[in-house]
């Protein structure tokens, strides 16, 4: 399949390792991975903060690249961006767009997948040949869970990883408190939610908290870092792309 990678603005700019891992993993699984260079951002932050008119150019830009018929599927390592593409782009297009945009939105949305969905539902694999010799707990993230209904797909993938010590996260389905601009507008409530999530993570004794969304990991990881818990975060894609030859394959130390 010709699979287009949607890096997401956050992944491209701040968390490239998760996107690199996605590219490597999908290629290793025999897909022809392309990166349409015109891509930028899905517009989720704009829609969720109330700026639908400002999201319109971003929706248009997304469909310009990804509705193209030469692309069989679009894969993004983010449940919330994929949720926005599949559920919110139509709202914006309905309100501000014309018929041709609405049609492109539908075409692009229908073939856009979150990573675990694509692996399990489209490629039909759960064992991707990964190796990750660490104690890991998995936070399922709200939009993967309740918007995309990915269910236990990420866990089915993780359970096949060799040498992983996967521990259940208590209260896993509870929000970490990120919520995009919610973390700024209601910073204190967001922090109260985060502190409960961090408590759950620390009780597992895990070395890493993993998730399918860099934004939630940025929030949980930001809290774990501030408190110097020593617990790291790792994107699902990075775990799945790790091998005996190289754990966290394309990691680039940021400092």
């Amino acid at each position: 399949m010709r699979v287009a990678l949607f890096a997401t603005c956050l992944g491209d700019t701040l968390f490239p390792d998760a996107v690199k891992a996605t590219a490597v993993l999908l290629t290793r699984l025999g897909q022809e991975v392309v990166f349409p260079p015109g891509q930028t951002c899905c517009g989720q932050m704009h829609v969720n903060t109330g700026y639908q008119a400002d999201a319109l150019p971003l929706v248009r830009n997304y469909t310009a690249d990804f509705a193209d018929e030469s692309i069989d599927a679009v894969v993004a390592p983010s449940g919330s961006c994929v949720g926005s593409i599949r559920h919110q782009h139509a709202i914006v297009a309905e309100r501000y767009g014309d018929r041709s945009l609405r049609e492109r939105v539908e075409r692009a949305g229908a073939k856009t997948y979150e990573l675990s969905e694509f692996l399990v539902d489209v490629l039909g694999v759960t064992d991707v040949g990964a190796y990750f010799p660490h104690r890991v707990t998995y936070h399922p993230t709200c939009h993967s869970l309740r918007m995309l209904r990915v269910g236990d797909k990420p866990l089915r993938l993780l359970k096949q990883v060799r040498e992983i010590d996967l521990v259940e996260l208590p209260g896993a389905e509870e929000c970490c408190g990120f919520g995009g601009t919610f973390a700024l507008k209601n910073s204190e409530t967001s922090t109260a939610m985060l502190s409960d999530k961090m408590r759950a993570v620390t009780t597992t004794g895990a070395e890493f908290c993993s998730a399918g969304d860099s934004s939630c990991l940025m929030h949980i990881g930001g809290g774990l870092s501030r408190l110097r818990t020593g617990i790291g975060t790792v994107h699902l894609a990075e775990v799945l792309a790790s091998t005996e030859q190289r754990v966290r394959p394309e990691e680039e130390v940021s400092a």
Binding site: K20, V24, R146, S225, S254
Partner: protein
């Protein structure tokens, strides 16, 4: 009366600004700031919501057709909203034919005046109250008191709130923020004739309340209730409850006055089969609530001889006028969304400043009462009081898509707002990200942030508004290379080539 209306149609009015409880006196983040520090309340709420959540989940899971029931509930309520005028007129006819008197109240002010006049006409200076959200919403108790009439709340939790000169914080469990030690203190301080040796044993607390309320049931001649359902094709009203105090109020007094929001209709009597399964399982986590009272007009020699029904709009027509927002009117006030909401669990209900707290309150309150009615209207902060985690939508027995309604109300708020710093930032980022050329420039600029990271690549302090982030969380410094720079680099190409070789090895 003229039959031709030739004026310009105006939107239906919102609930009045100054009457009732549909607006707090501060924004949600400000109210939350105080609430989050209330250690006792955090503990009480955490414990209570976790317990009710667990019960609800078990009750929903045990029904094989739960999803079909939810769909039926949603469809029935959508039908009611689509045919509201017709069904209301039918309902009025049925109630009237069976001996009830129907009053129409455009808003809280009209409803309060109608009810107070009816009570005064009976020469009563005390009225019994059945637990009711509609009468809380319109501030009926305060209005009655100003007319020299004492309302007596008979629901145990509402009584605790009333005696404590407090505000309810939950739709179903108004005193959820109190524990039994606090309740004992309130009873000892405020309840007439209380046993001075009262301890905090729940059985003893309930017994004290029962003694007090019994004396009121025996002596009070007028009662006021809300309604869970009004059945359009029979004129039947229904109240569901746990304690039986509502049943006492609905049967013992000479006069019964019911205040019902106009959206509380169901089309026909058999539709109750759907809602009487959905409501108790969603709200108290019970298969069936202990008391379901139904009455139709008046019945000679049985129950109140006089029955008045006040049909309340108070912003409901305005809500109905919004094609998206109207879904909030499907709500049957079960409060399941409050119990699963991570925001509600931590801030409690009072932070929402409204009779309707939690996720449903955040979409209902700004629509009933408006959110742009004054400068810095506190209601405008409500649609933002959510991380959009979606837990509310999953449990809603009538499938109200609360996250989508929150997003819609945020859109409406932004459209109504003047140009702000936030709007400027959103516009600028939209412009920057609407082309890859501008986006990559912005990415390069953001890399300047690497200097903030220091030796360990950890950013711990940022200027406003991002200091709201760094108040509790670090941020990693931007990486050396963006993804697209890596992809276009020799490293990136080599990594992909290596992966392709692995794929080919795997195939061969």
């Amino acid at each position: 009366m003229s039959s031709a209306f030739l004026g310009i149609p105006t939107p239906p009015p919102r609930a009045p600004y100054a009457t009732g409880h549909l607006r707090g006196d501060q924004s949600f983040p400000d109210a939350a700031h105080t609430a989050l520090d209330n250690t006792q309340q955090r503990r009480n709420l955490g414990k209570a919501t976790a317990t009710i959540r667990g019960k609800r989940d078990r009750m929903a899971d045990e029904l094989p057709d739960w999803e079909e029931l939810r769909s039926a509930g949603a469809a029935l309520k959508a039908d009611v909203l689509a045919r509201l005028p017709e069904l209301l007129e039918r309902f009025e006819r049925e109630v009237t034919e069976r001996g009830g008197v129907v009053h129409w109240a455009r808003d809280a002010d009209e409803a309060n005046e109608i009810v107070t006049r009816l009570v005064a006409e009976k020469g009563s200076d005390e009225v019994l109250k059945v637990k009711s959200m509609a009468t809380q919403e319109i501030g009926l108790n305060e209005h009655l008191e100003s007319a020299g009439i004492a309302p007596v709340e008979t629901d145990l939790a509402e009584l605790i709130v009333q005696l404590g000169a407090d505000r309810p914080s939950h739709i179903l469990v108004p005193a959820i923020h109190r524990n039994r030690a606090e309740i004992r203190d309130i009873f000892l301080r405020e309840m007439p004739g209380v046993d001075p040796n009262l301890d905090d044993d729940p059985v003893r607390l309930a017994e004290e309340a029962r003694k007090y309320l019994r004396s009121k049931f025996m002596s009070t001649r007028v009662a006021i209730s809300g309604a869970n359902f009004g059945v359009a094709d029979t004129g039947t009203l229904s109240v569901v409850e746990s304690e039986g105090n509502g049943r006492m109020c609905l049967t013992m007094p000479e006069t019964l006055i019911t205040v019902m929001g106009i959206e509380k209709l169901v089309p026909s009597f058999t539709d109750l089969e759907v809602f009487l399964q959905l409501l108790p399982r969603s709200s108290t986590g019970e298969r069936m609530n202990p008391y379901t009272s139904m009455w139709t007009g008046v019945t000679e020699g049985d129950g109140p001889g006089e029955f008045h029904l006040v049909l309340l709009d108070n912003g409901r027509s305005a809500t109905l006028a919004d094609g998206v927002g109207r879904e909030a009117l499907q709500c049957i006030r079960c409060s399941a969304c409050l119990n699963v909401c991570p925001v509600y669990e931590r801030t409690g209900g009072k932070a929402y400043g409204s009779t309707y707290p939690g996720p449903i309150g955040a979409v209902l309150t700004p629509q009933l009462a408006g959110m742009h009615e004054s400068r810095d209207d506190p209601n405008a902060s409500l649609p933002y009081a959510s991380s959009l985690c979606g837990a509310c939508y999953d449990v809603c027995p009538v499938k109200i898509d609360i996250p989508s309604l929150l997003v819609e109300l945020r859109h409406q708020h932004v459209e109504q707002s003047r140009y702000t710093a936030e709007a400027a930032m959103m516009r600028a980022s939209s412009l920057a990200m609407s082309s890859a050329k501008r986006f990559t420039k912005a990415q390069r600029a953001s890399r300047l942030g690497r200097v903030l990271g220091g030796a360990d690549g950890r950013i711990s302090a940022l200027p406003p508004p991002l200091n709201a982030w760094t108040s509790a969380r670090d941020l990693p410094a931007p990486p050396k290379r963006t993804f697209r720079e890596w992809w276009d680099s020799e490293d990136g190409r080599e990594a992909v080539r290596a992966a392709r070789r692995e794929a080919e090895r795997g195939e061969s």
